[in-house]
Amino acid sequence: MEIATQTPFHVLAVDDSSLERKLIEKLLKTSSYQVTTVDSGSKALEFLGLKEDQKSNASTFPLYQKETKVNLIITDYCMPGMSGYDLLKKIKESSALRDIPVVILSSENVPSRVTRCLEEGAEAFFLKPLKFSDLARLEPHLSKSKDVPEMHNLFKSKMGLMSKRNKRKRGEQDENLHETVGVTGPRLKLTPSD
């Protein structure tokens, strides 16, 4: 029987803010993900082997190595130049990249924005700042792209550790009104009020 070392789950995180990149990197590394951070959509595409001006033709960009293969993309929505939405579109338009799940992060909960992203194929739309609980909620949706049984146990233990330390009372208002919206599967249909 072949004993294969499981390559760690590789996340590409995209955000123009260095503070945000530092935070998200720590969060992901603490959860045992392998992380690459870039500061723009165009750098993300470059990393993924897709040049902006190239047509999305599978044969024109290099097959990337198993070690660098990206299993999840987490991107900020609001970025100068290429937005997270634009990046999402480009990824979903690419035959080589469209199967990589993309998660959008935003500091604002705008229903029309959420709908747009989910309709374009985003796996989830989370409000910043990203938390361990967001990753735990996301994890079941990722297992279809890669077998991540160890991750599941890790999240469970992390959540257990978190709840022991926090001991938050039920019904206690989250002071920064953090809400997670739009985790797909079944697809969330949001009706914008405006």
């Binding site: 503070l19 530092k22 935070l23 720590k26 926090n166 002071e175």
Partner: protein, 152 residues
């Protein structure tokens, strides 16, 4: 100074920061990300915030002092500041940024203007309190003690 006195001072300061609404739960999330492998994590992140935000606020103030104020530009700065303050749990700063943006959305220039001084003040307060907190941490560690865990 006695380690337990330092620890007590630290706990009291941290508790008051939460009680006064200067910090929120997100700061605790940051503390939980810190571990033996990366003991300076919170300090590094908050230092980054001091740098970035200090710069942003200076830009904000100098933009406001110009003949023709570019409110769109200012709103963009405030948007950034709101995001980063939310990410580290700087609740009061985040809150003033939110108020500013609400005034901006209503084209209430006076309202916007009235937020600038409080924003600067909250930043100055936040910086001095967090610096005091980090100094206490250093003193506790130097005296051979451990940093008390925050209990909510």
């Amino acid at each position: 100074m006695d380690v337990s006195m330092l620890q007590r001072t630290y706990s009291d300061l941290l508790t008051s920061l939460f009680r006064e609404g200067i910090l929120n739960q997100q700061f605790t999330e940051l503390q939980q990300l810190q571990d033996e492998n990366n003991p300076g994590f919170v300090f590094e992140v908050v230092s980054l915030f001091f740098e970035d935000s200090g710069r942003l606020i200076n830009e904000l103030i100098s933009n406001f002092n110009q003949q023709a104020v570019d409110y769109k530009k200012i709103d963009a700065y405030v948007h950034q500041l709101k995001g980063s303050s939310a990410s580290i749990g700087a609740e009061k700063i985040r809150s003033v940024c939110q108020t500013f943006r609400e005034y901006y959305d209503k084209n209430d220039i006076q309202g916007c203007y009235n937020c600038i001084q409080p924003l600067n003040q909250e930043f100055v307060t936040f910086k001095s309190k967090l610096e005091a907190l980090f100094t206490l941490e250093q003193q506790i560690v130097a005296a051979g003690g451990s940093i008390p865990m925050m209990r909510h």
